[in-house]
């Protein structure tokens, strides 16, 4: 089975961050609290399905699907 990313989550689904596939993007995401081992929850999607809204480390973070696709989850 191929790796699942945050972009594959359904609304309301929770997952734990495993790793990143893009080094530069991961630097930005790490600082925003998207850490390996952190629990992440897809709380909503913007109209047209992109960007998406995530709950992570206790706050709400919006990012594009292409960015979410660089975050692998278990």
């Amino acid at each position: 089975m191929s790796k699942r990313s945050v972009a594959d989550l359904k609304i309301g689904e929770r997952a734990t961050i495993q790793s990143f596939d893009n080094q530069l993007m991961s630097l930005k995401l790490l600082e925003m609290g998207c850490l390996p081992g952190a629990e992440i929850c897809l709380s909503g999607k913007a109209p047209l399905g992109d960007p998406i809204c995530l709950n992570v480390s206790g706050y709400c973070l919006a990012m594009r699907k292409s960015e979410a696709a660089t975050i692998f989850v278990d």
Binding site: L24, E31, M32, G44, G58, L61, A62, E67
Partner: protein, 703 residues
Amino acid sequence: MSSPVIALVGNPNAGKSSLFNQLTGLRQKTGNFPGVTVDKKSGTWAIDSQTVTTVVDLPGVYSIYPKSLDEQLVTDILANPAHPDYPDVAIVVVDASNLHRNLLLFTQVADLGVPVILALNMLDVARQQAKEVNAVRLAMRLGVPVVRINARTGEGIDQLKKAVLGQLHEPVRQGKLFFDPAEEATELITDTKAQYQLKNNYLALQYIIQHDGFTFLNRQQQVGLDAIIDKYQFSEPTFQAGETITRYKRIATVVAETVTDQRPANQSTWTQKLDRILLHPIWGYAIFGFVLLLIFQAIFAWAQPFMDAIDAGVAWLNGQLKESLPAGPLTDLLTDGILAGVGGILVFIPQIAFLFLLVALLEESGYMSRVMVIMDRIMRKFGLNGRSVVPLISGVACAVPAIMATRSIGTRRDRLITILVTPLMSCSARLPIYTILIALVVPSRRVLGLFNLQGLALMGLYLLGLFSALLAAYALKLVLRSKERSFFIMELPTFKLPRWNHVGLTVWESVRSFVWEAGRVILAISIILWVLASYGPGDSMQQAENQTRRQNPALTTDALENLVASERLEASYAGHFGHFIEPVIRPLGYDWKIGIALISSFAAREVFVGTMATIYSIGTGDDEGVTIRERLLQERNPETGGPMYTPALAWSLLIFYVFAMMCMSTLAATQRETKSWKWPMVQLVYMMALAYVTAFATYQFMQ
């Protein structure tokens, strides 16, 4: 001791600006940081009778690794003790309801060796979420002073004063670095410290990782740092990622020891409930559409009485000056040149104030971030970014502050494209031109029983501006290739009630910078134009006047004076310019008179109507709009004998003004923000070409 510098540092939305307003009140000023165009907000804060400090509000950042232009500044200051704004004490404002993430920045700033104070803000929000923060334990754990404050109400300012005084007189620094890079890259750090005479390990790491961005390092120093990186085969991104993870791990233990969290899991807050509506596929856009409608209504309808009042005030002052001062060129320069020019700027203040009032309210409440989210997908198609929404909306009032609002866009290319297309949004200065020309060729008739045809035409022009901005962005996206990856990662703040004093200050700032930035240029051009229109080669103007007076002995005094003024204008330098460019604008349907207006309105579009009034020799009637309109209707085309202002000509002019870059201040703003003359020139050329071609097509097609 000269006045100590206190810097406010913190995450966006942590309450930094509230605290800044609390500390400095009305004793604040805005300027630019030395050498960069980023706005600098600073003010004075008298802690006690002996200590008057300068407080600097730094842009909100998540870490000291910058993602956008205004974020770069924070690191530039904190990593450079020689910087004039380098703080004697840094107050790091943290959101207690989100301590985990906020402490990342705090530990970085403390590790740089700046004397810090941790200001715990938003404890009330944390309490609502059933979180309690133990400030004493936090202070012990971090080894720095921690103060509990409420930046909105001003609670805790006294304790903050004591802490700042303490740090100024006997600085307490944390015992050891929270994250010491030497633990993992000992030789690299030792080597860098020795070569650059640094004492602090973490600062040495910043030299290594960020040297390309540090403006205070010279070329040679930057090359030297590259050599160190090569020597140790150091991978900056890997190390930085490791640093962030390590910091967060350590922060997690600190938070676990100091925060008690009894929040019931999965309970949705009212922010989340609101978001379900605001980000809804249908309701989200419907609400945003309604908000936009409200903004337009405010700019065009609510601002009107204020604009009329300013207009009348300037006219009154002008009349008073003309009466009381001795007649002569100097008085003319003051009234027709300077005052008329300045009045042309002042009249836009109500529209700009209304727009920025509403934008500030939307930003303060947290709604603007939602707009950016729902618009990102659409904007991205055009090479823009969700964050481009604010500049584009602001462009409806004035492109100058709108271009300055692009600084929060992190991707260089997205920002550049936004700057280049923002002036296509029809700004308020185009409105008088639109209304006069529309009144000329569009009948005031109701359609579908609801809409006014003229109103629809006006809306059509605004939409044309918007769509052309999007299309231009799309074209630029294809032209400007960039390896840099566009990104959009944004925190959605919780909804809050706006802080009214903060909103007021924002509005004041944008109005002030508009008047000052745009005003200086327009003033200068007004004077030049006045000279060009008042003087001609040799005594040609006097001759024209004498000849007119001889040939029209029957006219009434007023009509004669108006005719004389018009003839004099034709003989002036401006008139010569008008004739000179006539061949170029002939295909668009324009004559030399319109040519003068085009040239003069290059300074600022609003000059167009005034120039037309002068050219068509209209006295200062009570209702100028009607007078100009009637006069234009009477104007005959010397070649055809029919009316000069045919629908073809009027629409050609309208279309020309939708696209033309007719504003020096905008070009100046682009120059400042891109730090090059290349981009304002690109902007000027592409917009002028667009204006010329479309106006040409319109005229030829409609004729």
